[in-house]
């Protein structure tokens, strides 16, 4: 499916991965995150051979180096916003109160902390998800159609916030999107076509 894809995302850089439906862009993202295993071939992330890791290794990779944001937000419905925000950094053992407060401030979640995800709008939910992913200060933030369930204005606003935070965190940002408009707002665009970088 994917052939010889070589992507570089610099510190603080945001890269959009685009391509038509079925071009393999989501699959690529999943492979990088270790969510999916490649049938053959090799996935390398910086010096780490992702495809050579077992489940525990891939989990550790996600926990310690990556932040993930999904189209469905994937918040935990039984946890409050506050708890949703902290639990990944807690599990990773990298909770930083100052950074956490700053995240809450910047994402504008201060008044929503005690609510449950189902009581939030889509944009609010996605902001919580971005906060959760960035709370442990990952090396790379991966987002799969993060604005797919949001209207255009909200999408722009969320994406803007994400980019600011990526710069503030100093991590890389790789976003899969089918929207050329949104892709254009990022630093760099990579287009996949039939499994090859176009």
């Amino acid at each position: 499916m994917l052939r010889g894809v070589d992507l570089t995302v610099a510190t603080g850089e945001s890269v959009a991965l685009t391509g038509e439906s079925g071009s393999g862009k989501s699959t690529l993202l999943h492979l990088i995150a270790g969510l999916d295993a490649a049938d053959s071939g090799e996935i390398a992330l910086a010096e780490i051979i992702v495809s050579g890791l077992n489940d525990a290794g891939r989990a550790e990779l996600r926990r310690d180096r990556l932040g993930l944001v999904f189209q469905q937000f994937n918040l935990i419905p039984s946890l409050t916003v506050a708890d949703n925000l902290v639990f990944q950094s807690r599990i990773a053992g990298r909770h930083d109160a100052t950074w956490h407060d700053e995240l809450v401030e910047r994402l504008g979640l201060k008044n929503l902390l005690r609510r449950y995800p189902e009581q939030l709008s889509g944009g609010q939910q996605q902001r919580v998800a971005i906060g959760r992913a960035l709370a442990p200060k990952p090396l790379l933030l991966l987002a799969d159609e993060p604005t797919g369930n949001l209207d255009e204005d909200t999408a722009d606003e969320v994406l803007h916030l994400a980019r600011d935070l990526v710069v503030r965190t100093g991590c890389g940002f790789l976003m899969v999107t089918h929207s050329a408009r949104l892709a254009a707002t990022l630093d760099r665009q990579v287009t996949l076509h039939a499994g090859v970088v176009a």
């Binding site: 999943h30 525990a56 989990a59 996600r62 926990r63 994937n74 935990i76 708890d83 599990i91 959760r132």
Partner: protein
Amino acid sequence: MRRALWILAVLLSHWRRHPMQLATLLIGLISATALWSGVQALNQQARIAYDRAAATFGGSRTAMLVSRDSATFPQQLFVDLRRAGWQVSPMLEGRVQIDGRSFRLLGVEPVTLPSEVGTAPAVGRGTLQAFVTPPGEMLVAPETLRDLARKEGERPQANGMSLPPLRVQAELAPGALVVDIGIAQDILKLPGQVSRLLVGKSKTPHATLDSVAGDKLHLVEPSAESDLERLTDSFHLNLTAFGLLSFFVGLFIVNSAIGLAFEQRLPMLRTLRACGVSARMLNTVLVIELVSLALVAGLIGLVCGYFIAAALLPDVAASLRGLYGAQIPGQLSLKPVWWFAGIAISILGALAAAAASLAKAIRMPVLATAQPQAWQQAQRRWLMFQSAAALAVFAAAAVLIQFGDSLIAGFAVLAALMLGAALILPMVLQIALAIGQRSARAPVGIWFWADSRQQLSGLSLALMALLLALAVNVGVGTMVDSFSRTFLVWLDGRLAADVYVSAASDAQARQIKAWLRDRPEVEAILPGGRADTQFGGAPIEVLGLPDHSTYRDNWPLLESAANAWIRLRPGDTCLVSEQLSRRMKLAIGDHIELPAPGGNWPLEIVGIYADYGNPKGQIAVNFAALTRHFPQTPLTRIGLRVAPDKIAPLITALQEKFGLDDRNVADQATMKRESKRVFNRTFSVTAALNAFTLGVAGIALLTSLLTLANSRLPQLAPLWAIGLTRRRLAALELLKTMAVALITALFALPLGLLVAWCLLAIVNVKAFGWRLPFHVFPLQLIELLAVAMAAALCAAALPVARLARMQPATLIRTFVNER
């Protein structure tokens, strides 16, 4: 560690948001543990009591030598055997009447008593001299002292002499009076006679039995179980079976609650994985969560189990006393092992119930995959497999009926029947629903049946629970009612005299009879008597019946030779109880040799009668013949025929004249009332457990439906979208639930009747020795059907009501989320 705690906190947050689900899970675990451990507590309690009884010298755990042809034999045989190297100890057993009540008197020889005979009363140290030197001591259990209404040191009168001073010995079984053998020989007027020789385990070389005792004695090998244990096996097996059934039904609940929680938490689990929790870590924490919940539920369940056991204990004790004469103390005492076992069973049960969900969690990919729509194919394979298993189980049951001949086999048949029925239930439902689908015309109708079929796999566990609970209820209910009807008719015949008198002594009995002869209202005086002897290696009763029309006309016989009552008169024939005839394979026309003090008494069997509720075998003979062959028979029991309106005044006069109390004189109505009360208590435990089981099955159905309701939204949403109102949808859902419940209940009825037949024709015969006629009680069946439908209605109401009130947004969301 901290990481695990955080993950656990996240997992647990689910229960905070879904307290009902948590409650269901806990209720399932608690009820499973409670019923199981409650039943275990009862069994344990009883077993302690049996051990106590068995420890009272010469329970069947000790090998013994008994006479081949008479109830007692000369103690010289004891001496001869000792001189030949046999480690034997003599024992004399008989009955004494104290205050008109009969007690078992045991004469033991403490110096030679084998140490392994068990908690021998603390003869030995310090007390041997007091025990063996006249007047000696009479050891009794604390309960017996209470029954006697005496204090330690008092000397009750019996057989015209003062018995030895009473002394309490806590390890003794209630009802037994233990004295030195020499003193027992005096009391029972059997000088130089012993009833049996207990054989010690030590293997001293000894001469052969024949060379010492000729053919006078024979060796009865010890059995691992005590008489009481063997007799009461059925009762405890019955309790255990119920406990097990309730336990499994409870696990159905746990299974569906965990299944639901797992389905609902799938996104959470995926998110956790995506956020860097490894599969192994997640599974470990899932197991920890489950074990913690099981621990909490197990503890609560144990406490509930304790209370259930404490509440049922009086009834159990009454049943065991009524059925087997087993004395169980009313105070519940539990061993530590019971608590550990209870907790363990809760945890193991929870793990077993969660096995499927946990296995799914282990195999779960991080990314949600599209729902496979091949459910129909999977379901068909699953149905075929289950049905094949069911047929195999049925075949096993058939083989067991054909060749099994034990109580265990009886219960195995029952278990196989139920298991097979449960396994085949989905197929039965499938076929019934398929027929419904074929006969449907309207599109909604077709959908109705088709969708019911699709629901089957999700509901089948709960429906199986309902099926089993219903079948057991039908079976046990039918058995109890059959028994009740038979028993009452039988009781009317058995209690034929109008007034029953039990005199304190033979002398008093003579005075009473003399006085009664002058009373015009007394139409007949019917002397009665009962002797004890051994027959076929087990103790039996010999009942003396006077030759009187009261017996000829009323005494119920199951089978008899021609002119049985007339042939009974000369004293060379007898009637045997059904239990004895089954155990010893005796039939009319058979000749038996009954051991009696004066030598064997040859008797021909001319009739077989029912003797429900008697743990011992019984033989009925002519009263005069009985007193000839058993001269020691107390003649204290008298039955009277009295004109109905004269009964009460006569009883009052008897009581005043002879100082008798209610225990010594009673009218027929009182006796019947007492018998019925005992009878009813006998089955009250069964009834209580029955109700528990049905209740638990109802909860299982409810939780299954709740589980299904959520996962079924995607199926319902399209119907709503194409124009069915929520109310209509809810009504259809309710109807579907009721339909499958009804099919299940209808299937349960014949199964229940089959269970009843098994209980009456196999289990009862093996357990009690009697076979009861099989009656069907249609009203009872209808009632149970109604209860089942009500239970289904209650269980379906909550999810359906929720559906009816569901926000359209929720339905819409299913489309959005479905991808």
